[in-house]
């Protein structure tokens, strides 16, 4: 099995018995893989920390550091915990198999290993690793390193949990008109610069961009990593976003291009956060009334002629150092009761 780049997969065989080690290495090389080997657990761990490996074939019965100990170290290591391991052992007894699986082994093959079975298991394992890597890459691109690491620790299983967080929606005002007035290349360049600035402001305050939608984006503060002051962080990020867009706009103006402006809506409360999608393609997102409200508030910035609008729940827990103005209740589509809306003074940023 080869990965997307057409490179052979890199496998590590760990076995203290030389005959076993040579035979397994040979079988895997015949299947087209690149194989390195280690004679004990300690050497194997050193190699795993030093060189890239796609899959480990691990013997259990070894002097010095046995396979169980290797599995225990891997499980506790943030960098290596996702390393797929197939146990190849002639240890007998279901208890041993169960212990390996509980320690995170993907599979357990009894030695001498049947070559056909070995091939099937390895191919399945590598395919799973490839999907996991792709998913990780997706998260890495969308999240701060801190969040990405937290996600790695908690695993990448699909499914949600209930969290308290703040959701932020932002989009570029009058983008369609803007796009029509300039060359497509220029529009893409504008969007790329804008996204870079927005990611910076959001990530800098502990938020995660969960969706990019053309000229708009959605970010969450307080999930997947809980933040006690997610309301204030979201608002601070929004203020920085407005400031950065202002600087960018002045730069554009100096170059003879039209100014740009953004509208930002923030709502806070309970929501369901987690991975949605399929095993092949999943993204981290938040769902619930709070999310809908943030989106409505963002749309309402055009009507209210304000840069940043927040809901009552966000304002209530903002703390000191923010100037807000009550705009009164607004009846949004899809809401049974009117919502108190507040504008945040974008110019005044608390320290």
């Amino acid at each position: 099995m080869r990965d997307r780049a057409g490179e052979p997969a890199r496998l590590l065989v760990v076995d203290d018995n030389k005959v076993n080690r040579l035979l397994l290495t040979r079988s895997l090389e015949l299947q087209g893989h690149r194989v390195s080997s280690a004679a004990d657990g300690r050497v194997a761990l050193e190699m795993l920390r030093r060189e890239p490996v796609d899959l480990v074939l691990l013997d259990m019965e070894m002097p010095e550091m046995d396979g169980f100990q290797v599995l225990e170290v891997l499980v506790d290591d943030v960098q290596l915990r996702d390393m797929p391991v197939i146990v190849t052992s002639s240890l007998e007894g279901v208890a041993n198999v169960v212990r390996c699986i509980e320690l995170g082994a993907e599979d357990y093959l009894t030695k001498p290993v049947n070559p056909v079975l070995l091939k099937a298991r390895i191919d399945a394992c590598l395919e799973k690793k490839r999907l996991r890597d792709a998913q990780k890459e997706l998260v890495r691109r969308f999240a701060t390193p801190e969040v990405a690491q937290d996600l790695q620790k908690s695993g990448f299983s699909l499914g949600g949990k209930r969290v308290r967080a703040s959701v932020l929606f932002c989009d570029i005002r009058g983008f369609t008109t803007l796009a029509e007035s300039q060359a497509p290349e220029e529009t893409i360049e504008l969007l790329n610069t804008w996204y870079t600035l927005m990611f910076d402001a959001i990530g800098g305050h502990g938020g995660v961009v969960t969706q990019m939608m053309g000229d708009g984006l959605m970010a969450v503060f307080g999930a997947p990593v809980a933040l006690p002051d997610h309301e204030a962080r979201a608002v601070q990020a929004a203020q920085e976003m407005i400031e950065l867009v202002g600087l960018f706009g002045r730069e554009r103006e100096a170059a003879g291009k039209p100014q740009i402006a953004v509208g930002i809506g923030i709502a806070s409360g309970e929501m369901v956060a987690g991975y949605v999608g399929t095993q092949e393609r999943a993204s981290y997102t938040c769902i619930g009334d709070t999310v809908n409200l943030a989106s409505r508030l963002e749309a309402h910035t055009k009507v209210a002629q304000r840069g940043i609008l927040i809901d009552g729940a966000t304002r209530e827990r903002l703390g000191e150092g923010f100037r807000t103005e009550a705009l009164g209740p607004v009846q949004f589509k899809g809401k049974t009761t009117a919502v108190e809306v507040y504008a945040v003074d974008p110019g005044q940023r608390s320290a």
Binding site: N17, K18, V19, L23, L30, E61, S90, L91, K111, P112
Partner: protein, 115 residues
């Protein structure tokens, strides 16, 4: 004696999967490594070191099954699962039997290299 010492089906399957030339190399490696493991069994028996005894027997069982040395593997397996305690006073006798079978296995494997 070859027929009963080495199971031809297992050995042929090994040769089929790994290649005849490689299996020659593998037999040589076994011939280099096995005496050390047998000596370790002896040492573990003398030192009453159950863990080393079990591990050496385990390793020999595993290699025996790879080459189709079924009787040899079965004897090593008994030592592995029974452990040091099970051989009790018959330890020397049991190891001698295993060493004797090893000699037959090696001879059979060397003969099969040219088969």
């Amino acid at each position: 004696m070859t027929a009963s010492t080495i199971d031809r089906a297992t050995f042929d399957a090994l040769r089929e999967a790994a290649g005849a030339e490689f299996v020659v190399e593998l037999v040589d490696t076994f011939a280099e490594e096995a005496p050390g493991m047998l000596a370790e069994l002896r040492r573990a028996l003398a030192a009453n070191d159950a863990e080393t005894f079990r591990r050496a027997a385990h390793s020999l069982k595993s290699n025996g099954s790879t080459f189709g040395a079924l009787a040899f593997a079965a004897m090593a397996r008994e030592l592995e699962l029974g452990g040091l305690a099970s051989v009790a006073s018959r330890g020397d006798e049991r190891l001698e039997a295993l060493e004797g079978e090893y000699a037959r296995v090696l001879a059979a494997l060397k003969a099969l290299r040219h088969a």
